[in-house]
């Protein structure tokens, strides 16, 4: 199970507690997290399911490369960080 940690800044708008979910890709893990917390989904992903423009995701400290498909591989013991970029104001 991957661990998913959300930026503190999002918590003012929607509760996003640290979560664990199974999955081989970022998409699969986040689908699991958002299934349990559906309101949070649109705060992170746009209407097409891509990562919002000024959001970032790191896997064990490495920024993902597939912002649209979220196909970056995730290991069993990985920590996924959902953060906001400093760009975007």
């Amino acid at each position: 199970m991957a661990r998913v940690v959300f930026t503190p800044n999002i918590q003012r708008h929607v509760a996003c507690p640290e979560a664990e979910a199974a999955g081989a890709t970022v998409r699969e893990v986040l689908d699991g997290v958002f299934a349990a917390n559906p309101q949070a989904r649109s705060y992170v992903l746009d209407d097409q399911g891509a990562l919002r423009r000024h959001m970032t995701i790191f896997i064990n400290g490495v920024m993902i490369s597939d912002r649209k498909g979220l196909g970056d591989a995730v290991g069993e013991t990985c920590t996924i960080y959902v953060f906001q970029a400093l760009s975007g104001g």
């Binding site: 649109s42 209407d47 097409q48 959001m55 906001q84 975007g88």
Partner: protein
């Protein structure tokens, strides 16, 4: 007569109440958040606020008995696999709600119906007070929609929605840029309207093409819906046939450039504008903030300045930031530099509520 204003600003939604003979800020919701637009639905008493959280996207909140609740945000359908559609800059056109630019109630006979216009040009309708939204596919799939361009923003957007008070299935919208579009079957089919307007930012062959027009704001008289007024990028235009054809008004002092227009609810020949110098100089003429009013269908205009700053004023009043109440006597406007004024005598005189608000995006009488 309305005794309350909703003021949408860059840093929150301000509720302004009439207290005695004064108007005062009564409360602030969503403080520090970007509230781009609000709607007070007089049919249900519900209020709606459109928020832009930047990183976290656009959201809609609806009033409850004791506060607010987040409801559905209009969302674009899944973009077909392999479809390539670029904006005017050659970048992929986002099939995603970038901004809510119009939010209006449906007709009196349609409780629960709301219309929502967005960037990059999608129109949505709700039938359940904003609990869910349906994408108006017929307009999005109209081949002409791909000729819409950015105007007030990089992407095209629907900023004005007028529901005909005689028949709620008749709806006119205005696009920046894309002109005026009209449906008479509640959005099943659409036709271009707005002939007679003039666009100076395109080659001569396109100057009078209705789809090239940068309408800044479209207003329809509620008791005489044949009368429509347009504040356009290139001037002021008036229609006497429900927006099918327009006539330009050229003798407008101090300027015919601006963003908002409101029309008196019972006097179709009476309308108000807030002039700026011109498109490349978006500040009041001579640093004096004024309102222009016509009472004769645009033959003549009166410049109204009593109570407004007349020295070094650089306020811009955006397209949704000039409001009129249902009596036609009260007006209110808010500016980019945080000014808020109310008039109770059809604009003859104005009282300043505040000059230290955040930038004001929209004003509406509740």
């Amino acid at each position: 007569m309305s005794d309350q204003l909703l003021v949408s600003t860059r840093k929150g939604l301000f509720t302004v109440d009439r207290c005695g003979s004064c108007w005062e800020i009564a409360k602030v919701d969503f403080l520090a958040d970007n509230v781009t637009l609000a709607l007070s639905d007089k049919r249900s008493g519900r209020k709606f606020a459109a928020l832009d959280h930047g990183h976290f996207g656009v959201k809609v909140h609806r009033s409850t008995a004791d506060g607010w609740e987040e409801v559905a945000t209009p969302a674009y359908p899944e973009k077909p696999e392999g479809l390539e559609e670029n904006d005017m800059w050659g970048r992929p056109l986002p099939w995603s709600t970038v901004r809510i630019w119009a939010l209006v109630a449906g007709g009196a006979d349609q409780p629960g119906v709301l219309w929502c216009g967005t960037l990059p040009g999608g129109l949505f309708r709700s039938r359940d007070d904003g609990q869910s939204w349906q994408f108006v596919r017929s307009l999005w799939d109209n081949p002409a929609r791909k000729q819409w361009m950015g105007g007030g923003a990089d992407l095209p957007g629907i900023h004005s929605i007028c529901v005909d008070p005689r028949n709620s299935r008749h709806v006119s919208i205005a696009v920046s840029t894309g002109g005026i579009w009209h449906t008479e079957d509640a959005g099943e089919t659409w036709v271009q309207r707005g002939y007679g307007m003039r666009a100076d930012h395109v080659p001569p062959e396109l100057t009078n093409d209705p789809i090239a027009q940068d309408v800044h704001c479209l207003a329809q008289c509620s008791s005489a819906p044949h009368r429509m007024w347009v504040q356009h990028h290139n001037g002021i235009f008036v229609s006497s046939d429900e927006g099918q054809n327009f006539t330009e008004l050229t003798d407008v002092k101090p300027s015919a450039f601006g963003f908002p227009v409101v029309v008196h609810p019972r006097e179709p020949d009476t309308a108000w504008f807030v002039p700026e110098i011109k498109d490349e100089k978006r500040i009041p003429v001579d640093g004096k903030l004024v309102v222009s009013r016509t009472r004769d269908g645009g033959k003549t205009f009166t410049t109204l300045s009593k109570g407004l700053p007349q020295s070094h004023a650089y306020d811009v009043v955006y397209r949704h930031a000039l409001a009129i109440d249902e009596t036609g006597d009260r007006l209110a406007m808010g500016s980019t530099t945080g000014g808020l004024w109310v008039s109770e005598d059809q604009g003859d005189s104005w009282a300043c509520v505040s000059h230290t608000l955040p930038p004001v995006y929209a004003v509406q009488f509740a």
